[in-house]
Symmetry: D2
Subunit: 402 residues, 4 copies
């Protein structure tokens, strides 16, 4: 056992699953805020890989500030068009020169954004529907120095920051998360080209009744008329209702596009499948936390993880790591109903030695904290020791940040 400062204590409250009211939200990948998160993180990966390839280590950068300015569209059944393009500004700092060699960070950022959009929001034609611009400054001299060491070593914390993770997900959380994944994934999406990527799902549980509210942008060219639209909305409703039953035995009510007003011929109809085409701006860190959800019932970090440097940005690393630790502990140790892991950094100490690693557990009936304490602490210790794995997996794109 290491001498890391790891604490396990009882949470002394009810598990979120057992609280009276629970609220959960997820913004799908086509939501303007998520588009920004996705681009910021993809730019980050591209820069990490560029630096690794060119100079053998990741240099200083932070690209966590993409701003999306909504466009104007004229959707109509059968196929409308985008009138004014979406404007995307990639903002951040990056090291532009190393050992006398200039590094193409701007071009790399633009390429990453374009590739991300083509892969994830293919309905948007980059260059005509979306203008991608970039303003990457150079970081301050001091910060650039910090990255002199090789990435194999455990870097020092450069800030006082913290991360927090939870496991397991509640039923409501699972429904919200998995519904968006399924709708935007092959399971539903392959047969439903009319469903856009901008899907916002809110789950609200009061006691044993779960209300799931879905706002789903429909794509005009795949819908001939309002009947098609109604059918598409109903199809989403049925799908989510069925999917929810895989995760809960509670009563589930699903509503889709409740803001539609058929009298006013006002539907959630889009040309590109995202509200970014018309009126909804977006930016990084305003949506999902690192576990993919917004969970007001749980402590959350305000940190925008997407786009941050995964080598030394302690807030990003600790958010991803604490989530990973919580999930790992729950997977390996029986008897846990709710676990929160919080990591607090200390400036100037290696990041595998947090100031406090603070786990709050709610055990299942018949299990005590003492029963599981050694196992939990050992796992926390092991995963902390392996912190640089978080960096490696983030660079490879194996971990999501939103």
């Amino acid at each position: 056992m290491s001498d890391r400062n790891i604490r396990l204590e009882s949470a002394e409250k009810r598990a979120v699953e057992d609280q009276e009211v629970e609220i959960v939200e997820r913004k799908g990948i086509g939501h303007p805020d998520s588009i920004c998160d996705g681009i910021a993180e993809s730019v980050s990966r591209e820069l990490s890989n560029l630096y690794l390839e060119r100079v053998g280590k990741v240099l200083h950068y932070n690209t966590d500030e993409t701003q999306l300015v909504a466009g104007t569209a004229a959707p109509k059944f059968g196929g409308g068009e985008i009138i004014e393009p979406i404007y995307l500004l990639i903002v951040g700092r990056a090291t532009k020169e190393y050992d006398g060699e200039k590094l193409p960070v701007d071009s790399a950022a633009l390429r990453a954004a374009r590739d991300y959009l083509r892969e994830n929001i293919p309905e948007l034609d980059v260059g005509t529907d979306v203008i991608v611009d970039v303003k990457l400054g150079e970081g301050s001299g001091d910060l650039q120095d910090v990255f002199g060491e090789e990435t194999e070593e455990v870097p020092m914390a450069n800030d006082t920051s913290f991360g927090v993770g939870h496991a397991p997900l509640t039923e409501t959380e699972q429904i919200v998360l998995e519904a968006e994944h399924a709708l935007n994934g092959a399971r539903y999406g392959d047969d439903h080209p009319e469903l856009g990527t901008d899907i916002k799902i809110m789950g609200k549980r009061e006691g044993d009744v779960i209300d799931v509210t879905v706002a789903a942008a429909m794509i005009d060219q795949h819908l001939d008329d309002v009947d098609d639209y109604i059918e598409a909305v109903e199809s989403v409703r049925e799908f989510v209702t069925e999917l929810a039953s895989e995760y809960t035995d509670r009563e589930v009510n699903v509503d889709v596009n409740t803001a539609d007003d058929f009298d006013d011929e006002s539907y959630y109809l889009t040309t590109s499948g995202t509200s970014a085409e018309m009126g909804d701006d977006g930016s990084v860190g305003r949506g999902n936390r690192a576990n993919g959800l917004i969970t007001p019932n749980r402590p959350m970090s305000m940190e925008a993880s997407s786009g941050k440097n995964p080598v030394n940005h302690i807030g990003k690393i600790y958010n991803l790591l604490s989530t990973h630790i919580a999930e790992t502990v729950v997977a390996e140790v029986d008897g846990i109903r709710d676990l929160q892991v919080r990591l607090l950094s200390q400036i100037g100490r290696p990041i595998d030695e947090p100031h406090v690693a603070d786990a709050k557990v709610i055990t299942e009936d018949g299990v005590t904290v003492a029963d599981i304490e050694d196992d939990v602490v050992a796992i926390v210790d092991r995963e902390l020791a392996d912190v640089t794995e978080i960096t490696r997996r983030t660079i490879k794109g194996e971990l999501t940040t939103f």
Copy 2:
């Protein structure tokens, strides 16, 4: 008593003041994220007033997306200079025409930003040190219709959203909040022109020991050399230490600018008093919550309140209102050690009738929830009924959002 759905229950956990570890943070008004919050909110007020003056009611807008791209500076003792300007992009939607009359929303937004900067970050010369740009689109047609009613009526909730507020502040929270106010206010600032506005304060309490870490940008032209700098840092340390003692009897340790490295001649020295001049980008909603703090020990809303339309943006209104209700209840009712008020909206119902108004209380020793229930519920009911007062006070600038 109304038939509003107001619930009061015991929080069934320890008050934050009594938890083992507590973390609190505040980004001062000159922090890049706060600059964006401040501008977004000031643009919002300007637009509200423009619409009221021109057409007698507040039209549709949302200006909650200001993006700041950091500049480049060359600070030096005795006075350095800004080399490349900060770039500020005001983003949002606004109604640009009403009844055939064009409304100068872009010019109003630019004026608001300029006036805000001159008032709050006077060291920045707008136009040379800062470029302020603006991209305000028109909202979707549907949304514009929503605002057809007069603002005197209680508007309908246009989204499912929630707000959360707490009272009273813990000692650590008070110290963090008041220290920034005092440092940036007349109490300290008047005699200390060398202290910049970009002050970030983190409070960490473990048991009965409070560590306060201050990162304070110093302004070069008021410091002749490193000795002056050291003196300025020490002065902040002493001031905060003394101020903290007004709020707590616990042990308080204050550190200021811990990242300085005197061997490398690396100090937190700036030309303008904000790190936005060199390397730190910013955007709206990434910093302080509506009560001025980031409080990971408490449930927080991810909603960016700054810049949102105060007439009908339910997330903004409920964040401000729940904070106001919590403070009012604690001020009027004795025996409360910790109170959380959460408001959940329901689309299509008047905003003074939330789906749930959900208060969780921790009473002081000798007081039961039953003792105070009627009083608390009555106050919540009264303040909900008066919800449009939140709008009015926000437009007048009497409520802060960050």
Copy 3:
């Protein structure tokens, strides 16, 4: 014969071909100014066609202000890269709404620019090497009204403006023009991928000696080393020398890339074949006149023809038309050594009735002005009557503007 005010007079000076010193210049299609001209004109064609397709007539627009901000590149033998992208801002006015229908002018402009670049400067990867942005405002209300008539009618002149054209080209003019066409065309380009599109040719004739100076951007990926470069330069020199001999019997000296400094390893080496990648900005109307040349020995119009509305912009139409008339006259009438045609508009009169159509001729030996006057005037009259053909051919892309 019409009653158009057509005058033919003797020029009373020596033909340019016979003057002692003659200077001629052409900026090739990859020159930053020509890139802007090309994009502006291609945006103009796209908008004309968009309007014709959607509403049956060309609405008000002017897109004659594209601005190019150079990028940064790191060329090297064997293949370098672009570090910071070129930024292209399309500027102008366009009608965005007609009869309640929104028209996608921004998207159309972006598409036109992208297509133009892909077709003409294929070495630039649009989206990573070039950012294309657009700011198209709405014209003033008055101007929009002007276009209410059908395009079949002859529109009224909306400005006092003039155009000027010449024929035939001198030997030096032909050499400069044709050399660029051949180098950038199939004749040379197909076998010489190492030659970029940014070719600037200056011809200077003193008496019977013609000096042709070529600045030709070479593309790094097709050149392994400096020997390859030297060979590529020499190849251009030989080609232009040979081509020149097709147009003149005078002595011709050709210099290519005279600014190279082999001692300093300073060559005209680029990654993309245009100096826009590194340091050379560009804008519309700063380069070639409507006949493809800059000819200080001849009167020129300062009008930027590229991007102007070809339906009613009198400066553009008269520049194209006067050039066309001069060429037609010289093709159909024998005995002309030098002809200048100048058209001056009069506000409020149909554009086929210029205030003055003023032709100055220098006849060949043995021919008098009187000999050819009737023929010349008849042709001028005929072509003026057919002025809308200029508009039609411009929209079809059959006429070049730079």
Copy 4:
């Protein structure tokens, strides 16, 4: 006498004053193109002075590409407003670092633009009516090296370029130039706040009849109604008519704002006195030549002089110098009716030794070229020797470029 290659020959044609048709144009200082010229040149001066002050010599820069994107305004009698701001993008190259010191070129450019606008177009409130943005890149490495020498030496020509100047001005040219100066100057402007700075004057002379067409933006806040407007227009007409009589005995007809349509209530009314507020974009080098006029009857250089580096940009220097020489010769030598001076550079030779200095003269009756040849050549020689004086005076702002 030096061995400079100076040639004087007879122009062998009629003086412009004696030609049948003459056209002259001037865009006043508030015209969008002139605003760009003025800002570009003022940025240039600021950078020259910055470099001189900081490093003792002028470093490499070129800032000849300011782009203006028009705003939107809602003028009305008694006072309207600007709705969407004008956007000004300063574009160019500048040396940003020298001997390890960073130089604030961006801030300097922004300050210069702001000061220029405040001084010359005071009706525009910089920051709300106009957004000034800047994109200054670094020049290519080679070019930066060129400027290693001290500015006291005569620099080498870095390009093959030419400049052309004329004197004396014809009557029509004088009227056009002086009318704009007087209208925008104290003589008329002091008593006529209603007259904007965007004044475009076209002079057309046919034989002995001069038509002067003035387009003059009127400022709404100084005009209560259409009667005031009509009076203001008439006042300009009378003033220009009277002023013209100081320069000519020919018949002069003056028209002002001929595009007004009183039936449609369409006047040339503005809020700021420039059409840049509504629909008219602008850029550098599209308007007046270095002598302040557009003169299609005379050879003109296409070179945009404004914003170019006055130390080594040979096109700018030779345009200013040739104009200066022509004026000086005419001032000092009697008997010249029309003089054109053309200077052609040769790459790599000192700029005081042009490849050719080529003067074409038309003498007055009774004077032969031989009579004046020695005097003219001596003056040309003397002024060429003093070429660096052009640079010095340009940096001091004593020479205008548009």
